[in-house]
Amino acid sequence: MPVPSDLEFRQISKSFGRNHVLKGLDLTIPAGSFVALMGANGAGKTTLLRLAGGLAVPTSGTVTVAGVDMRKAGPGLRRMIGWVSHESLLYADLTGRSNLRFHANLFGVADPDARIAELAEALDLHKVLDRPAGVLSRGNRQRLTLARALLHGPDILLLDEPFTGLDEASASRLIEILRLLHGEGRTIILTVHEIARAYEGATRLIVIENGKVGVDRAVVPNTPTELAPLQQLTTRPALIPPPNLWRAAGQVAAKDLRVEWRSRDMVGSAGLFSFIVLITTSFTTPPGGGTQGVTTGILWISLLFAVLLGVGRSMGRESADRAIEGLMLAPTARESVFLGKLLAGMIMMSVIELFVVPMFIVLVTTGQMTTNALELIGTVFLATLGLVIVSTLFSGVAAGSRLGDSLLPLLVMPLVIPLMIAAVETTRRALGGATAVGAVGVPQWIGLLGGFDLVVGVAAFATFAFVMEEQ
């Protein structure tokens, strides 16, 4: 009968195109093991670890944690895993404390602040907690990363080349912490390059060769070196159920808004961009164009670009330091990331529009102030929602392409053509533009906008988990 954190790989194959990294690998790691994984570059150590962490899915075979197939289990199983790699998975613009609080909430830690204080004590984080993660030294950031991974007291700690870039003192300190955690009964699996590191704490050495386990033997760890006394790490924090879909979405949105508040990236750059496009292109239209012709088109082109720029930037932040993997590791439905980013995107776009739309009315439609406010607000809301839905979904897709953000307009623009037509038409009429005889009325256009949002929104929600499956 498996003990709670038994980790088992059964007939695991993993290919990246024609590169078959793992070829039918079988491996069982009982609870409480301390395993060092070795192998040549590209042998599949990291891939194996990512499969165990749920950051990748096998091409064939199954990974089970405590006897449960990871692909069939609910997101709650991910709470058993803690993940550390040489990427921090933290948001550079947020302070250490803010980063930890975000992850603690996602993982259902009952008292995040108390837990952060405990870990700060154990890992000597007091000086770094209130500084932005992006400005910390490599060693400090790695300790913060370890704190993030230990927040929820995981049974299994996976570490992918955690010593990369650490000086000798920091590396020794990390080893000592891992020994302590192992002593508490946690399963530790780490990938290392230097064989000496493998002997520093591990009790089992596994070498991956030709996509399978080549060497698997017990090792006797070296005697620990004398280190400054280290506070005992608290074993288990009190946990509450992880947040449901909506609460997790709220956490993600709040985090995005906090990042925005500190960086002012989206509202600043996208808003300014939108405004400049509006002003510049208004010089390209004949004077006195009013609400007719192309002037309302200019407004919507500028808003479309603001959405593309802002949402693309927001997903870009997730790619930096692999923060997206922090979200993938969370024991919450991955659709919550879509909803959270959608909500944050809508709030940020509303701020931009509160500035840009009145500017447009004043500067471009000079003198024609017969504005139907209700129609205008309805149009702006529904059309922006559609633009943000499509951009949020495909920003995740574009981030995984060779072109990155620059692919986003190519994917989004053809899809949002109906939105743009409807938005321009209703905005023009809401601002007092003439209506041709027999033309379709504003309510129908608004219905089309709502229909687009509903159909594409539901499809985007249903498919977003596939975007997050492996990044």
Partner: protein, 240 residues
């Protein structure tokens, strides 16, 4: 060098069960498509009478309408294959989606080009923003976005997953695109229904032969694309 390539191809051929299976499944497809194409040419250019108003120009219609049909069929196949890929992770479904998109883009291009030729002859302009032309332009852009997305993602599993998402969303978008451009402006002649009826039986017959033939051509080309894909895979597998 030559002999090496030949041997690789020979071995690849021997190791390409997918390609072989497809070929064995419908051996009649190639000859049937060829015969159907000959019959279509006869119907479109000789059997169908010359249009009283539009003259010979009207015959573009026999290529234009079946191509439009195929561009929709192609998109529907991409949609169905995309759902199959995401639910069953069937590599075959992904290959079918890619093949249909490639052939679909080809036929959508034919729709646009023949539409422009006809427009120039009848309306006096190559392009007008009428609902159907505009819809097809958007459809063409969607196909292009799909193929571009595939081109820019090197990892096949990710490519299949991401393009399936686009395949689904784009298909759902098509009716909304059509409705929006229909409301936007209307100029195009209606083929069916009010104002479009009254086509002589011989013309209708030519059109239906065209629909049948183009469907066969689509299936034939998709099959060919799948075979080429399977052989390419086998060769590259052999070389790696």
């Amino acid at each position: 060098m030559n002999s090496q390539s030949t041997s690789q191809l020979d071995r690849a051929g021997g190791q390409a069960p997918a390609g072989k299976n497809i070929r064995r499944k419908w051996p009649i497809l190639g000859p049937l498509t060829l015969v159907s194409l000959i019959v279509f040419v006869y119907f479109a250019f000789f059997f169908a009478p010359e249009d009283a108003e539009q003259g010979q120009t009207q015959r573009i219609f026999y290529i234009h309408v079946p191509s439009a049909w195929i561009s929709f069929v192609g998109f529907a196949v991409v949609f169905a294959s995309s759902i199959t890929y995401l639910t069953k992770r069937s590599q075959k479904a992904d290959r079918l989606a890619e093949a249909s998109a490639t052939i679909g883009l080809l036929f959508t291009t034919v729709v646009l080009v023949t539409g422009m030729m006809w427009g120039r002859a009848i309306w006096g302009v190559y392009w007008t923003w009428d609902p159907r032309l505009t819809s097809y332009l958007v459809l063409w852009l969607l196909y292009l976005a799909y193929i571009a997305l595939r081109a820019y993602i090197p990892d096949p599993a990710r490519k299949a997953r991401f393009s399936a998402i686009l395949g689904i969303i784009a298909f759902l978008d098509v009716p909304i695109v059509y409705l929006s451009v229909l409301w936007w402006r209307t100029l195009h002649p209606h083929v069916f229904g009010p104002g479009g009826g009254g086509m002589p039986g011989q013309m209708l017959a030519a059109m239906f032969v065209g629909l049948f033939t183009f469907t066969l051509v689509f299936i034939y080309l998709v099959r060919l694309r799948l075979q080429v894909g399977a052989l390419t895979d086998a060769v590259e597998e052999d070389q790696s």
